[in-house]
């Protein structure tokens, strides 16, 4: 018995020693950064684990550090999945870095909350007016962020499949109407060849829901909030058009077209031939092309009455309001606004470059290229999510309401409840709004 305890004690001490060794190696991390240490600025990015985009961030920083001798930028990378929580926690301890990237729809919330400072982007090589509107974040007349790229929602199918069932391939100028779309789904369903006639990608619970499904609502003529003053969701989210959207959304499940909850990887299901039509984004285009080649059909979104719509705004760059060296941060941001970096980011991430000039240099996105449709979609159909600090709240309410509707909740009742929650939130918080 004694020996047993001794064994435990010995192994514990050994473990302790090993741990102390590890601690000794990395213990220097304990000096807190307050964004800038003199002329050394800290930069946070959501790109840990995403080598392609992270590589470009590193390149820009390296070039900037080499281009002048006054400032030095240091990178800390965080994984995307928990990036927002990391930033909010750091902000609550007043430890934000000088430079950080931020998901587009969150900009008004962070600007209002005092995380972000307004930017002066006039000194960059690329003019702000040349950018896709969805890639520049303005709030109350000031610019708080800009992105190098955007993404586009789209539908994927196969030309051979559509042809076989005698379905017209829609174009940007003549997208499917609601009725045409219904016919197509009915034909595909009747074939009995597909596990999912339509896959909306409902398995991913995060920001994907408002990003992917509020454009459908907008195409029906509804919206998340009344954008005339951002003071109420009444009418927009529970009016006739919104109810019609809700009924349609639920009917996709009741008619057996779409799974109520998609698998963890709808894109793989599509590539495995389990899905006839998939609602997804431009980021899957390359992998789908690799699989199906010229048979891949990239389809514009359906026009449910108010024109086709897609969500706008992806990751953008900003400067924290607590930054101790705003001049340095501005210098970095303006330095980064070179066409070659717009090109590099778009290439690395398979996304739409934020300027036309840059897009022309990205293979596939040039005029006539197979992915040029995404650029056109972003120019013609993109709607940014509501520019209000209430957006994170609206986003969660919309996701939950859409999930409830998909699960069979009374559509009008669910939307009315969502409106009352959003209006209550708008009334009890002193948000100031507007782009």
């Amino acid at each position: 018995m004694e020996s047993r305890t001794r064994r435990l004690a010995v192994s514990s001490i050994a473990a302790l020693a090993a741990a102390a060794l590890v601690a000794g190696c990395g213990g220097s991390g304990s000096t807190g950064s307050s964004g800038a240490d003199g002329n050394t600025l800290t930069l946070w990015t959501h790109n840990a684990g995403n080598a392609a985009e992270y590589g470009v961030v590193k390149q820009v920083v390296k070039d900037f550090n080499a281009s002048q001798s006054k400032y030095k930028v240091k990178i800390q990378a965080f994984p995307q999945g928990s990036y927002n929580d990391s930033v909010v926690a750091a902000a609550s301890a007043k430890k934000l870095p000088c430079l950080l990237d931020v998901d587009g729809p969150n900009v008004p919330n962070w600007a209002w909350g005092g995380y972000l400072a307004p930017l002066d982007l006039s000194k960059g090589q690329v003019a702000v007016k040349d950018q896709l509107p969805s890639t520049v974040a303005t709030y109350k007349g000031k610019t708080y962020g800009f992105g190098f790229y955007d993404v586009a929602l789209t539908m994927y199918s196969r030309k051979s499949v559509l042809k076989k069932y005698d379905i017209r391939i829609p174009t940007l100028d003549k997208p499917w109407t609601k009725d045409e779309f219904s016919d197509a789904l009915a034909k595909l369903k009747a074939s009995g060849k597909f596990k999912n006639t339509l896959d909306l990608g409902t398995g991913d619970p995060g920001e994907w829901w408002p990003y992917a499904y509020s454009p459908l609502l907008q195409s029906f003529g509804g919206d998340l909030i009344d954008r005339s003053a951002y003071k109420t969701a009444k009418g927009a989210l529970n009016g006739e058009n919104a109810v019609e959207w809700g009924k349609w959304f639920r009917s996709m499940v009741t008619k057996g077209y779409a799974p109520q909850k998609s698998s963890k990887s709808p894109a793989d299901d599509f590539r495995n031939g389990k899905t006839a039509i998939q609602w997804d984004g431009s980021w899957s285009a390359q992998a789908n092309t690799d699989k199906f080649g010229s048979d891949l059909a990239i389809l514009p979104p359906v026009d449910f009455g108010d024109g086709p719509k897609i969500g706008g705004a992806s990751w953008q760059w900003g400067m924290s309001s607590t930054c101790a060296n705003k001049e340095g941060a501005q210098a970095y941001l303006n330095f980064s606004r070179q066409t070659k970096y717009f090109v590099d980011f778009a290439k690395a991430t398979n996304t739409i470059a934020a300027t036309d000039a840059a897009a022309q240099q990205v293979k596939g996105y040039e005029t006539g290229g197979q992915f040029n449709i995404f650029l056109k979609e972003a120019q013609k159909f993109a709607v940014v999510r509501p520019v209000t600090p209430a957006y994170p709240y609206i986003s969660t309410v919309f996701s939950k309401t859409a999930m409830d509707i998909m699960a069979g909740a009374d559509v009008k009742g669910a939307l009315d409840q969502a409106v009352s929650q959003i209006d209550n939130n708008l009334a009890t918080n002193n948000y100031s709004t507007g782009s």
Binding site: V88, A91, S92, G203, P259, K261, Y393, M403, D404, A407
Partner: protein, 311 residues
């Protein structure tokens, strides 16, 4: 940290004085021994929890340009009118009431099965413990898959009933979602409590079993008269920890159902976290936590009273 050894060698003026001194020494030593743990608990649980509860009386937000303001019991008033809170409360109690006996009982059965001296017992212990150590992400992908309408579980049901019964879409049906979460949670957590039962089984002296064998006791009487009474302390522990764990149900919900469908799996902790983080309403989330704390504390005190040891 402790008293000087050899104290008994001191020549005592009177017996009572020695006793009193020994008592005082014992108290001091005891205080010395509990204080590190108590200090750490105060630093890292009590103070942050009090801070969190204080927020319940303010309009604090996660992201806000202005500091929090005292709003009295406003959050509690809103809470009392919040239908989701009552649903969450009901779901949480439903889960706890089913999971506590189920998981505790199954864990004991497993512990008894692997407490025997048979071939491969180490292997079985390790395997029963596997779900506890497997990443929740992986576990949730698998179970979401098993629970699909055309998933493995429904295939099995269909085969076993010769195609007479078609299983439901487990996680997407309000009446089956919570039972599905319960089964998965018990499966995932039972190995944890098996270990605790196993440790408890070691405290039962072997000679009691030998005496029972000599008396010609059946296995059942042996269990009922030796094992079960011998586990009384472990029982209290398992009961209280499973109860508290069950009330804290969060991860499975957040990964598998997000409280749906139609709020049928929304739990109090899930609601508090969603309100506090995603919806940024820190003050309101704190109010939910505070009310919840009081409720669970009441349940635990009742439990502890019912299972109190007579010593």
């Amino acid at each position: 940290m402790s008293t000087r050894p050899g104290a008994a060698a001191d020549v005592p003026p009177t017996r009572r004085a020695t006793q009193r001194r020994a008592r005082r020494r014992e108290s001091l030593a005891a205080l010395g021994m509990v204080s590190p743990a108590v200090f750490l608990l105060v630093m890292f649980i009590v103070i942050p929890v009090v801070l969190a509860f204080a927020l319940a009386f303010t309009n604090a937000r996660l992201v806000s340009p202005t500091p929090a303001q005292f709003t009295g019991v406003q959050n509690f008033r809103v809470l009392l009118d919040d239908p989701l809170f009552y649903k969450s409360l009901r779901n949480t109690f439903y889960f706890a009431v089913v999971v506590v006996p189920l998981q505790g009982g199954l864990a004991l059965v497993l512990a008894l099965l692997v407490n025997a001296k048979v071939k491969g017992v180490n292997f079985f212990r390790t395997v029963y413990f596997l779900p506890v150590v497997t990443s929740m992400v992986v576990v949730s992908i698998l179970w979401t898959l098993l629970y699909q309408k055309t998933g493995l579980i429904n295939e099995l049901i269909s085969h076993l009933t010769l195609g007479l019964v078609q299983g439901p879409d487990w996680l997407n049906n309000p009446s089956t979602a919570m039972p599905a979460i319960i089964v998965m949670s018990v499966w995932q957590g039972v190995g944890f409590h098996m270990i605790i039962w196993l440790a408890g089984l070691q405290t039962i002296p072997q000679d009691l079993y030998e005496a029972a064998d000599i008396d010609g006791a059946t296995r059942w009487t042996r269990f009922w008269h030796v094992t079960w009474p011998g586990l009384s302390a472990t029982r209290t522990f398992v009961l209280i920890t499973i109860t508290i764990n069950a009330f804290a149900l969060f991860t499975q919900i957040s990964v598998m159902t997000q409280g749906g469908p139609l709020d049928s799996t929304s739990t109090v902790v899930y609601q508090a976290v969603r309100t506090g983080y995603s919806q940024q309403q820190t003050g309101y989330a704190s109010a939910i936590s505070l009310v919840f704390f009081v409720l669970v504390l009441a349940v635990s005190l009742v439990q502890r009273f019912l299972t109190r040891e007579k010593d």
